[in-house]
């Protein structure tokens, strides 16, 4: 989340303009406050609870810490390797299937981590298809227990590497090409060019992708629990929900938050150190045709990852579906899919409202204050979903008690959408911020100097220019909400099930075959925004 703001040094600012901006600034402040209040309420309620016991033992803490760090580092490193290598391969070289893999390798993004956890464990287990097939051919040892730390790192890496893949791909294809041009004109040979010039230039994008991956890892709960790895995240749940030990829960949340902030600082420090001023576009680096063995190896590598990360788990889900009694889920399917869609679209709309207004105002007022208002809304992305859920509950009750003496907001669909906004505004922040960063200045200032009203600036300049950022943000948020679990589970209204919650419930009841239909639906419907994402990335 790097971003610095040049102090406003533009044209004159007539007084009347500032007054009219004042209204917008207030609106942005209100929106940011609305997003932050649930989190503040959480802290105050915890502070009020001051005396609550804290029985986190000295044996647990090191275990939580070691597991958390191992997991974050393990998944971070392996997604770094997978994502970067695949992005370089598919963006810089031509080999059989290269074009297809540029899309295909994004697809695992549609897999929620907890579903992937059950699926991979199921593929390899004793009652799994691998063993059954092996036995058929007289091989009796084709099964393994993958539960545990190495397995968890592998599973999470397979569903999360697309974040790194996508950010790196975008960077290779749209940005630094003119550097390459000039480096090339200096006579650098192509491989040296990639190694010495391109890779260093890609660092910020790669770091951004890895940062997203690490955030996703820290928010995961289902996969960690099933694989039997206690971390800060699962510790918070156990302490708070199972033991009512708020003191320990807060301490753990604090440690988790410290890790998140440190990762965030590391990322922005790293990016500032490696900052590349964006240059005008030029012809992208020409792709080189791979021949013979090299082409074969490239195709095998991409194909292998695609198979392991997508084809195999989807095929396994289809296999489960074929043996499952899905009558119940089939009857409910339209309702489940409808609810999922409603959550995703409604949540995305609210997220956009929050992010567009705050980013527009940041651009409009160009002050440090405006910048921080714009940035503060992103904080929810660093806090585990279940904790945000409690904050939103506290907030809904406050609203209900103040304005009507019943339950209108609490337990309503609106409260759920609101919670999505708190949690996912940070996801939309990044692309919109980047977009408005790019267009900062020229057109916007020109508009201001000819005295365009703020509304016209928004409608005629900001929105059209941010179109791609908005589209990208929407897509990312829709993908996230589609897979989302803890918020939806805790906050949903009566008689409300989504594909994701249904899949989780069956899996939680240890009926993985029946979970197949909703799980497969989450993945397949989730492919639509992923395909859209591919188009957006390509057109950038």
């Amino acid at each position: 989340m790097a971003g610095t703001d040049a102090p406003y040094s533009g044209l004159g600012k007539p007084g009347f303009l500032r007054v009219r901006r004042g209204g917008w600034l207030i609106l942005a402040t209100l929106i940011a406050a609305l997003v932050l209040v649930p989190l503040l309420l959480l802290f105050t309620s915890i502070a009020a609870d001051g005396g609550s016991f804290d029985q986190l033992s000295n044996t647990q803490l090191p275990r939580y810490a070691i597991n958390t760090l191992t997991l974050v580092a393990g998944v971070g490193l392996s997604t770094l390797f997978l994502g970067t290598s695949l992005a370089l391969l598919t963006s810089l070289y031509r080999f059989p299937g290269a074009k297809f893999f540029r899309l295909a390798l994004l697809l695992p993004l549609a897999f929620p981590a907890y579903i992937a956890a059950y699926v991979y464990a199921g593929i390899f287990e004793y009652s799994g298809p691998l063993h059954l097939i092996g036995r058929h051919f007289g091989k009796n040892d084709l099964y393994a227990n993958i539960l545990g730390m190495p397995g968890l790192i592998a599973v999470l890496s397979l569903v999360l590497y697309p974040y790194v893949f996508a950010t790196t791909r975008v960077a290779i294809e749209s940005r630094y090409t003119s550097y390459l041009e000039s480096a090339r004109s200096l006579g650098l040979e192509r491989n040296a060019l990639i190694r010495k010039v391109l890779l260093p230039l890609l660092r910020p994008a790669i770091a951004g992708g890895v940062f997203l991956v690490m955030m996703e890892v820290l928010n995961d709960y289902g996969a960690m629990k099933y694989f039997g790895i206690p971390t800060f995240t699962t510790g918070i749940f156990t302490a708070w929900f199972s033991m009512g030990d708020l003191g320990s829960a807060v301490r753990l949340a604090m440690y988790l938050f410290i890790i998140v902030v440190m990762l965030g600082l590391l990322e922005s420090w790293y990016n500032r150190r490696n900052k590349v001023s964006e240059s005008h576009r030029s012809r992208p680096l020409e792709k080189r045709q791979l021949q013979g063995v090299k082409a074969f190896l490239a195709t095998s590598y991409a194909c292998g990852i695609f198979f392991i990360a997508f084809i195999a788990p989807v095929a396994y889900l289809f296999y489960l579906l074929s043996i499952a009694d899905s009558s119940h889920a089939i009857a409910e399917w339209p309702k489940l899919a409808g609810s999922s869609l409603l959550c995703a679209l409604g949540g995305a709309a609210l997220v956009l409202l929050v992010v567009v207004v705050t980013q527009f105002v940041r651009q409009l007022v160009k002050s440090k204050y405006g910048f921080w208002v714009g940035k503060s809304i992103a904080v929810g992305y660093t806090i585990p979903g279940a904790i945000i859920a409690i904050g939103v509950m506290l907030f809904s009750r406050l609203v209900d008690n103040t304005f009507n003496q019943g339950m209108i907001v609490a337990g309503s669909f609106l409260a759920l959408l609101f919670a999505y906004a708190v949690r996912f505004a940070g996801v939309a922040y990044q692309p919109l911020h980047a977009e408005s960063e790019k267009q900062s200045g020229r057109l916007f200032e020109a508009g201001q100097s000819v005295g365009l009203s703020a509304k016209n600036l928004l409608v005629k300049i900001f929105l059209p220019l941010s179109r791609k950022g908005i589209l990208l943000a929407t897509t990312l948020v829709v993908i996230d909400i589609f897979k989302e679990l803890p918020l939806t589970l805790i906050l949903r209204p009566f008689n409300f099930n989504t594909l994701a919650t249904k899949a989780f419930e069956y899996a939680d009841d240890e009926m993985i075959t029946r979970a197949a239909l909703p799980a497969l639906s989450v993945v397949i419907v989730g492919l639509i925004p992923v395909l859209l994402l591919h188009r957006i990335l390509r057109s950038r």
Partner: protein, 342 residues
């Protein structure tokens, strides 16, 4: 900017009105339930058909539902809390989230150790936590009790899920209650020393691990084995057929049981309907459906266990008041943490 406000107001109106509970005309009962089996949904529908009372359900884990009830306070729309263990009901009672109700039907149907002394909650179904073992590898003359699991002869043989799971917590709570605190610590440490692998996965995974030869003895709930034996997945059926079940402590206190149960919420807006639903769920024919679909033992003794359960053999259950499990839950978690049982 005006459009933004209009859009926002529309969204607000669209979102709040249809989901807000209408308390005026419709007869309804609101259920917060940890149980999300298809059979529960079917039984709720049957209840609606018979009584005209609509059943509204929110499913989440019991822990989360308790926090939700606590946060919603007096506004909480829940009438009935259903959990799948006694510990959480005791905790709900401790948190002052339940209210007493006196029902002849409940008192007559449910044995006293299966409900709260203060009439705050009652069991709906019973499940036993038993041992599954590989018959060709385990000499059952050496394995009669839960206590035997801690014996060094089973080193590297014992399979179980994580201690964050309530079933294991309640099991240890019952050992604290029966054997005392220091014995319970020794037991947890002893069983941990016998682990075939780190605790992981769910109950079914432990049974599969026996079939895979990773260990010889697994701690599981009866109904999971029942469900595996009738699973959609032939490989799961095969794994379950390869193990035998053993009901521990038959010659002393009986096998540890747990329940799924229900309590009426403190601020229930439809208390009467909630009680009607409890009584309905305890009715003989309904209990029969629970037993047949989910392989749980009925609490209404007029209902028979499913044929599959009957084949597992009848057994003596530990009549320790379930209230105790809840009271000892926190201590049980502490012990697990002390001995390092994940």
């Amino acid at each position: 900017m005006r459009y933004l406000f209009i859009a926002f107001t529309l969204l607000l109106a669209a979102c709040t009105s249809p989901t807000a509970p209408e308390q005026t005309t419709v007869q309804e009962v609101n259920v917060y339930s940890h149980r999300h089996y298809d059979i529960d949904q079917a039984l709720f529908e049957q209840f609606t058909k018979e009584t005209g009372i609509t059943v509204n359900v929110v499913n989440a884990s019991a822990d989360e539902l308790l926090v939700r009830m606590q946060t919603e306070g007096e506004n909480c729309p829940a009438d009935l809390l259903i959990t799948s263990d006694a510990g959480r009901l005791v905790r709900a009672a401790d948190m002052n989230l339940l209210q007493a109700s006196n029902s002849e039907i409940v008192n007559q149907t449910v044995a006293s150790y299966l409900r709260s002394v203060d009439n705050l909650w009652t069991a709906l179904t019973v499940r036993a936590r038993v041992l599954a073992y590989a018959p060709e590898r385990v000499d059952t003359s050496l394995l009669r009790t839960y206590e035997d699991l801690a014996s060094p002869i089973w080193k590297g043989k014992v399979l179980t899920r994580s201690s964050t799971n309530i079933y294991n917590q309640s099991l240890l709570a019952s050992i604290i209650a029966n054997d005392g605190d220091s014995m319970a610590i020794a037991w947890a440490a002893g069983v941990k020393a016998n682990f075939a692998r780190d605790p992981q996965g769910n109950d079914r995974d432990q049974v599969k691990a026996i079939a895979a030869g990773e260990g010889d003895i697994a701690i599981v709930n009866t109904y999971y084995v029942g469900k595996m034996l009738t699973s959609d997945n032939p490989a799961e059926r095969e794994a379950a057929e390869a193990v035998k079940l053993l009901f521990p402590n038959q010659h002393d206190r009986g096998t540890h049981i747990n329940i799924s149960g229900a309590g009426i919420a403190k601020y229930a807006p439809n208390k009467d309907n909630a009680l009607k639903l409890i009584e309905f769920l305890l009715r003989k024919d309904v209990q029969q459906q629970f037993a047949d679909a989910n392989y749980e033992f009925p609490v209404n003794k007029e209902a028979a266990a499913s044929d599959l359960l009957k084949n597992m053999g009848s057994f003596t259950e530990d009549r320790l008041p379930l209230e105790n499990l809840g009271e000892l839950n926190a201590r049980s978690v502490e012990i697990y943490n002390e001995v390092g049982w994940n």
